[in-house]
């Protein structure tokens, strides 16, 4: 049972029960403000009937020509509100907005080790498009999967023909 509404600056003061989760990154202010200023409709929040933040999705839309696509930058659900299909709801929302913006596909990056997330995205219709080597830096660098789902504008599903060769971040034309 959820209220979906745009994420606002004030929510940054209240999102701790979500962001204390170890897999959720707390970014610097400029990161959030940039998304809020540039893609306000892509930053959406799920609120519980009691007014708690259940989770949120942060994304953007970018790219040229048939690479015009929605991108999921962060998706997180508070531990108290898992197993309710909330991630799917938020993903639907982002796909919907991307459809309205006439994007060809939606993509996202996920840690290769994050089995739970990969599984979930697969169930939502995403495929592993390619592997990006050492995308996540840290004590031990980790590869990312670039996962994609075609939208209705991509009639021939050209955007989801997987790459067989892994690529490096610097080799990708992000636009």
């Amino acid at each position: 049972m959820t209220t979906l509404r745009p994420f606002t600056c004030d929510d940054l003061f209240k999102y701790n029960n979500v962001n204390f989760d170890p897999l959720t990154e707390t970014y610097g202010l400029s990161f959030y403000t940039q998304y809020l200023a540039k893609w306000p409709e892509y930053f959406q929040l799920a609120e519980s009937p009691s007014g708690h933040i259940m989770g949120y999705i942060m994304g953007k839309v970018e790219g040229h020509m048939d690479n015009w696509h929605g991108h999921v930058t962060a998706l997180t659900v508070s531990p108290d509100y898992r197993r309710l299909g909330l991630a799917g709801l938020l993903m639907n929302f982002l796909e919907d907005i991307s459809e309205k913006k006439r994007a060809y596909f939606v993509d996202l990056f996920v840690r290769k080790s994050n089995k739970v997330a990969i599984n979930m995205y697969t169930n939502l219709g995403y495929i592993i498009y390619r592997t990006i080597l050492e995308y996540y830096s840290g004590d031990q660098d980790e590869d990312a999967y670039d996962m994609r789902k075609a939208l209705s504008r991509d009639v021939n599903k050209k955007s989801v023909i997987p790459y067989t060769q892994p690529v490096r971040l610097e080799d990708i034309d992000m636009n």
């Binding site: 049972m1 959820t2 209220t3 003061f13 170890p22 519980s48």
Partner: protein
């Protein structure tokens, strides 16, 4: 040719300037200065190099030189982009935003119609929120380059004049501006030039601001809006239909939406409201069957029946319908059914989800205490777990947990006897252990243990017992349990937050810091969560040891303070009209954060207390703080409470727990604490400034050039602040604030307000003010005042010594219960004496200096018959004060040396004996927790003794 030459020059200069930029970038300011000077020797007129020199000087803290350097560049009215950029950067750093406006005004005058310069000018107006000027520049921009963005910059500037500008409070003006803004957009629409969704949003916004809801509705549902703004949130439709009172349409729309999307609380809420409104709208005399809530109920039932996948939505909506009907004195039971049964059905279906507790809690306040308790017992019975049976699987366990949480919320625990509570605790502990060993193995390190909530509840219960018995044993045991849970479930932040709280209650700073670090609090969390740790550090018993935490917090704030205006410019750049006001309000909230202001004041006080260098070093560190005693820089009425109090989970009885009241009360008290602390800082600074008049830095940094300090100013400042000081205490005593309730574990710890009122802060610094002034003028009562102050010193020393004796005595009974309070008292005594020590060292330095130069000044305007006391005598009296302070500091040190570490409750070996823990696990666990307490005490002792050693040296010369 000339052009080519110029281009070559630009490229050349850019290359030459590069090293200066590079050095500034990496913070190598000294080298940057050298590089810029080198360049200026060759090209003395290169404006950008001069501006960069100004920036380097600014970064090096050489404010006066920087100021004149920048001034001279500005006077040449530069027009090149790089010089302007550097200058505006400097002015931004110095918060002289109006200078940036001037800068670009000149530049635009010389290059009329230059798009880039105009855009900079526009942004400079945005920074100072001058909407009128924004409007004018935006129109110039549009004339120069007819881009939609510029046109709408001017539209939004008109809107802001109407709703935020100085004239916004005059209704006629407001209407005028909004009407103008609308006409501007209307014209654009007519010309077919509306292009983006944000423009469409802005138009809707303008219409709504003027209450033109029908027009807004027509536009929103019209063709143009559909084309430009396909993602317009459906909530906009709700809003407008509600404003228009078109409940029927709203009702229909929501039925459609809910049919497609059955789990949306926002939809159900609006839907139910529309149903109740339709009910209200029925004229009583109407013969046709009136709208009845049966339609609503049937709709919900139909959703429930036709859904293949069970979602919480329609069930919660049914409970909400029940609740609302009762509130309207309508026969809820008749239509919807028995409330308890509905809740139980909900519990059956969704009790295995951890959010079930929050869901049911929503409806508890609407029923009586008796009903709550009986419902709670029913749920417990429904959960099927009793004293003789254990949960069969994870889901079953979660149901049991949910029922237990609800029963606490219903007040079941506060009525149990202490013995019962302890038995309950044991049961919870065993449930935790059972759940952990049965369902909690093979967890990912990022997952929380499924049985962890038992332990969290157990900690709350043990606090209840501790509170009732005024004994720490139980709570200490809870801490050990939590630490045990944390080993099994390393990512459970609830456990960390509760442990952090308990460590603070017991004055164990090392443990608290450990938990805080473990939580990895950063960025904006430093503001919203600072209350759990950073705000508890002042007077906790550590001084230099807590500086790090202040620093990290302040660094976040100063960075975001610098960036705060750029966020707003960003919304203009992307023409995100829907976010502009939000960003402006956010900026205010962040800049006026109580956490920010309080933390800066505490950090400054802490620094002065910790001074350990030579008198010159200390003084220059003091000057660098640029405290201006006469100037209260805090906007008291704007202070903002940014705490996220909901981050800490709780299930306390709903009829007693009132988070919002607690928030209000604690916030008020924290502001009063800040009043005391900031006034203490300013008063103390005025003492220092009287003898060590600040020059240079402060004056150059201040915007106010007209004011030149006169000799009498400083003494008047001391007088004035002293009056405010005693006045403040008088007021606070009259206000009679109550200490914050400590009913439950999750309640906020008491603020320092009562501590500060109880300890001799007021009289000590009041008398000190007199002493400082008497010493300055050589007044005849100086000797008397010296005596008074030394008596104060004795009593502060005694407070310290007695507190430690008391603490040692308490060790025989309960080493932890009063620990925090004792540490606070000792810390406060040492804070007072340390400030006093620094003051004496400054006075002594000054008197010795003037004695050496033999410059015997005549005190001007002195109409007293008595001659002022000679400087030599004054110096002697001062020496005596220093001698006395040294003695008392030594007495404090002697007491601290014998301050015993807290004895921990009960026999350690018997701890948690009834747990199914492996003995070796148990031993290391308790060993670790005990070691943390011991280490914390030892660190504190070392730190306090070092502090005293420094102060003894400071006054010992």
């Amino acid at each position: 040719m000339a052009h080519q030459q110029q281009a070559m020059d630009t490229a050349l200069f850019e290359r030459r300037l590069r090293p200066v930029y590079d050095n500034l970038e990496v913070g190598n300011n000294r080298k940057a200065l050298q590089e810029s000077e080198k360049l200026l020797r060759k090209h003395p007129n290169l404006l950008c190099a001069r501006a960069l020199k100004g920036l380097s000087l600014l970064r090096l803290g050489r404010y006066e030189e920087s100021h004149s350097c920048l001034q001279s560049v500005a006077e040449e009215k530069p027009v090149d982009d790089s010089t302007l950029q550097v200058l505006s950067f400097c002015y931004r750093e110095m918060e002289q935003l109006d200078k940036i406006v001037e800068l670009y005004q000149h530049a635009v005058k010389l290059n009329p119609g230059n798009e880039e310069l105009l855009a900079h000018l526009f942004v400079s107006h945005v920074r100072v929120e001058d909407y009128k000027a924004q409007q004018a520049v935006a129109l110039q921009l549009y004339k120069a380059q007819p881009k939609n963005a510029y046109y709408f910059w001017s539209v939004i500037s008109v809107v802001f004049q109407g709703i935020r500008g100085p004239e916004s409070c005059i209704p006629e003006k407001r209407n005028l501006y909004l009407a103008l803004a609308q006409r501007m957009v209307d014209k654009h629409i007519k010309e077919g030039k509306l292009e983006t969704e944000q423009e469409a949003f802005l138009y809707l916004h303008i219409l709504k601001l003027q209450n033109k809801y029908q027009d807004a509705w027509e536009f929103l549902t019209g063709e143009l809006c559909a084309k430009l703004y396909p993602g317009a949130p459906v909530s906009m439709k709700f809003e407008l239909l509600k404003k228009l009172g078109n409940w029927l349409e709203l009702n229909k729309l929501l039925q459609e939406l809910l049919d497609a999307d059955r789990d949306r609380w926002d939809y159900y809420k609006e839907y139910l409201q529309s149903c109740f409104e339709l009910l209200k709208q029925q004229p009583p005399e109407q013969q046709e069957p009136a709208y009845s809530l049966k339609t609503c109920h049937d709709f919900l039932l139909q959703i429930i029946k036709s859904s293949t996948r069970k979602t919480r939505g329609p069930y919660l909506a049914r409970l909400e319908l029940h609740q609302r009907m009762r509130a309207h004195q309508l026969p809820a039971e008749e239509l919807v059914g028995d409330f308890d049964e509905l809740v139980i059905e909900y519990f059956h279906l969704f009790g295995d989800k951890s959010c079930c507790t929050h869901d049911i809690a929503l409806f508890l306040p609407s029923i009586s205490m008796e009903q709550r308790q009986s419902l709670a017992s029913k749920l417990l019975a429904e959960s099927g777990v009793s004293s003789s049976s254990l949960p069969q699987n994870k889901e079953h366990m979660q149901k049991h947990i949910c029922a237990l949480q609800i029963s606490r919320m219903c007040g079941a625990h506060i009525e149990l006897s202490t013995d019962h509570l302890i038995a309950f605790y044991t049961a919870l502990k065993l449930h935790y252990e059972h759940g952990h060993s049965t369902f909690g193995k093979e967890l990912l390190s990022t997952e929380m243990g499924p049985s962890d909530p038992y332990a969290l509840l157990a900690a709350n219960v043990m606090y209840d017992v501790s509170k009732r018995e005024s004994k720490s044993d139980y709570l200490f045991e809870a801490l050990c349990l939590l630490q045990y849970v944390l080993r099994n479930s390393t990512s459970n932040f609830h456990v960390k937050l509760l442990s952090l709280k308990i460590y603070h209650m017991f004055g164990c700073m090392v443990g608290a810091q450990e938990m805080y670090d473990y939580l990895d609090i950063k960025q904006i969390q430093l503001d919203s969560m600072g209350y759990v740790h950073c705000n508890l550090l002042p007077l906790s018993g550590r001084f230099s040891g807590v500086r790090n935490c202040y620093d990290t917090t302040l660094k976040f704030f100063t960075n975001s303070y610098k960036e705060r205006l750029e966020y707003i410019s960003l919304t203009y750049r992307f023409c995100t009209f829907s976010k502009m006001e939000e960003f402006m309000n956010f900026k205010e909230r962040l800049t006026n954060s109580l956490m920010y202001v309080a933390c800066s004041v505490e950090a400054q006080l802490c620094d002065i207390v910790c001074f350990y260098g030579s008198i010159q070093q200390n003084l220059s560190a003091y000057v660098a703080m640029s405290i201006e005693p006469a100037d209260d820089r805090i906007s008291w009425n704007e202070l903002s409470d940014n705490r996220d109090l909901q981050a800490i989970i709780r299930w306390d009885p709903l009829h007693v727990d009132d988070t919002e009241a607690e928030r209000k009360e604690s916030f008020e008290q924290e502001i009063e604490v800040l009043q005391i602390r900031s006034l203490l800082l300013r008063l103390f600074a005025s003492f220092i400034d009287l003898y060590h008049a600040p020059q240079g830095a402060k004056v150059a940094m201040s915007n106010d050039k007209t004011r030149t300090p006169t000799p009498g100013d400083d003494i008047a400042t001391v007088e004035l602040l002293r009056t405010s000081w005693t006045g403040l205490f008088q007021r606070l005593r009259l206000m009679n604030y109550k200490p914050l309730s400590q009913n439950f574990l999750v309640n906020l710890l008491p603020t320092r307000l009562h501590l500060l009122l109880k300890l001799p802060y007021e009289s000590f610094f009041d008398d000190l003010a007199q002493l400082v002034m008497d010493l300055y003028s050589g007044a005849s009562q100086l000797a008397l005042q010296c005596k008074k102050v030394s008596e104060n010193v004795v009593s502060v020393m005694e407070l310290c010594v007695q507190t430690i004796t008391e603490s040692n005595e308490w060790n025989g009974m309960d080493g932890l219960w009063k620990r925090r309070e004792h540490q606070q008292k000792v810390a406060a005594s040492l804070e007072i004496l340390s400030l006093y020590a620094f003051l004496l060292s400054v006075l002594n330095d000054k008197l010795q200096c003037s004695a050496k130069t033999k410059a015997k000044k005549k005190t001007s305007g002195d109409n007293k018959t008595q001659e002022p006391i000679s400087e030599k005598e004054r110096s002697q009296m001062l020496q005596e004060l220093m001698r006395q302070l040294k003695h008392k500091l030594e007495a404090c040190d002697a007491a601290i040396r014998i301050w015993k570490p807290p004895t921990l409750p009960r026999e350690l070996s018997s701890f948690m004996a009834d747990m199914s823990l492996k003995p070796e696990v148990e031993a290391t666990l308790i060993g670790d927790v005990s070691a943390t307490f011991k280490e914390s005490h030892e660190l504190m002792i070392t730190e306090l003794r070092n502090l005293l050693k420094d102060k003894i040296r400071m006054v010992g010369k």
